[in-house]
Subunit: 321 residues, 2 copies
Amino acid sequence: VRKTANADEFDIIKRIKQTLDNYSLPKAELSIGDDCACYMRQISCLDILQEDIHFSLQYYSFYDIGYKALAANLSDIAAMGGKPLYALVGLSLPEYVSIKDVQEIFDGMAYLAAEQKCAIVGGDISKSPKLALAVTVIGKTYGKNMLLRSGAKEGDILVVSGTLGLSHLGLKTLSQNLSTDVSLQKKLMQAHLRPQPRLALGQMLLQNGIKCAIDCSDGFLADVGHILDESKLGVILDTEALPLDSQALDFFGRKSTLNAALSGGEDYELIFSASPKHFNRIKALANIPVTLVGTFTKENVGQIQDLNGRIFERKGYKHFG
Amino acid sequence: VRKTANADEFDIIKRIKQTLDNYSLPKAELSIGDDCACYMRQISCLDILQEDIHFSLQYYSFYDIGYKALAANLSDIAAMGGKPLYALVGLSLPEYVSIKDVQEIFDGMAYLAAEQKCAIVGGDISKSPKLALAVTVIGKTYGKNMLLRSGAKEGDILVVSGTLGLSHLGLKTLSQNLSTDVSLQKKLMQAHLRPQPRLALGQMLLQNGIKCAIDCSDGFLADVGHILDESKLGVILDTEALPLDSQALDFFGRKSTLNAALSGGEDYELIFSASPKHFNRIKALANIPVTLVGTFTKENVGQIQDLNGRIFERKGYKHFG
């Protein structure tokens, strides 16, 4: 019998989908396989943040943990072009967590929730050997439309918001206790501990005719790969165009910074497709920088190639397997 | 600093409520403090099922675990008089759980979901030291009304569905490996491992003018206590009237059976209030037996007394603290 210890997350999810297909359950408009599910026009997502898998108490404050658990979910809502409505929180508490720590978790979460006008309506708590948060967010999109992984078209360009790689370099800085200068340190901590879900950007994209987006959580190559699978396209990626941070390049070097950008994950930027004629308008309307980094092709479905035809391994940062 | 190991679940929840009150979050119609939350007329709940706290792999099959995780949530929806719409599942997987085990978890869950027409739309999986499920269910009620803990009135009678105590006696049978005869065994296993959420009953109650219900999950006395706190009433309980199982009485004796009924928890029956004139109609319409077990009073707010004026300790089965 195959233990999940040796299994890939996507294999497990595939088996779950197959199992559910054996039952006559009400059908969702969108089920397992995008950033959010959609049922009766309502979008929803659930994200687990597990101690020693997704965070360490050695370098996360309880405030950070609460903030990030909600941020990861809001980023999924953003990737659909949605607005959050309300959240429920499942809190698994080990005995070494105090009531004051619990308060700090909810301070971090409520700060972000208030900023993004998301109610926190309920949940559950349980004892547990390690700290874990399972947060559900329910949201809506305007009208019937959503940004979908399957929405990219041949000839569209591949665009990414903000800067890539800082979150993973932040994790590296924290876990290896590296000393960087103050302004880089601040950027790295912000990126890893307090990522800003791109809700305003996602909503603007949806309202301006964009059809396809995903949030950069597993890692850029892995997430672009999800778009390729669902849109049945290939992509040519201009790695020189990837938005990297100049201070990070100076400190970590090009190779580490590029690797973090390609496979590090948890940047929570939006990766989306646009027709070339849409791009300038989107760029002008966006509240953060957006960068053209590639072109979708009908050929080489599922493959990410660079300008020299080199094929990338579509690997992300794996919490599982 | 007070560790949660020594804290009561309700103290932690109180602190969470206080924390959230410091932020200007969108207000829910109903937040922490009933079986479900309600936001924009939609009801929602989240329940965690944690290995070695809520179940043991020694006597739960994976199918049972999946079934019960959804059943606990559907019971909360039933307690509002609601209908489930869709569920999201957070699955925390230790390495000793196989992909086949995961499939069985979802077989158990999907069986119940199909029966109750609840979609399973998404979720998340994570590695974890112990198996845990955090299930969220979103539902609706008819119109604006809901069954509330705060809905009982002076002079109402206290009613409970089905039979009390079998779930706890089932747990006892499993954990102590007791030998009972086959028909009792079957009843006990059904009650503990495969409880039937009382959705049809809850919906019928709401449609027939009932205002107040809670599901019996923490234990009868604890759950009745929640109604008393929220409705600001007392209650006189006729313990002789409590619906106990005659086979269980024969096997476990009156004292154990009554204790299980009063404090065992996880019966997932509905406890509700009704005006005396409503009761006969409700009884005729109900798809399962409903039993009059007490009378609400304006006096002795928060107290549960027996016919002799003896005050019960409002204790339930504690998973926490």
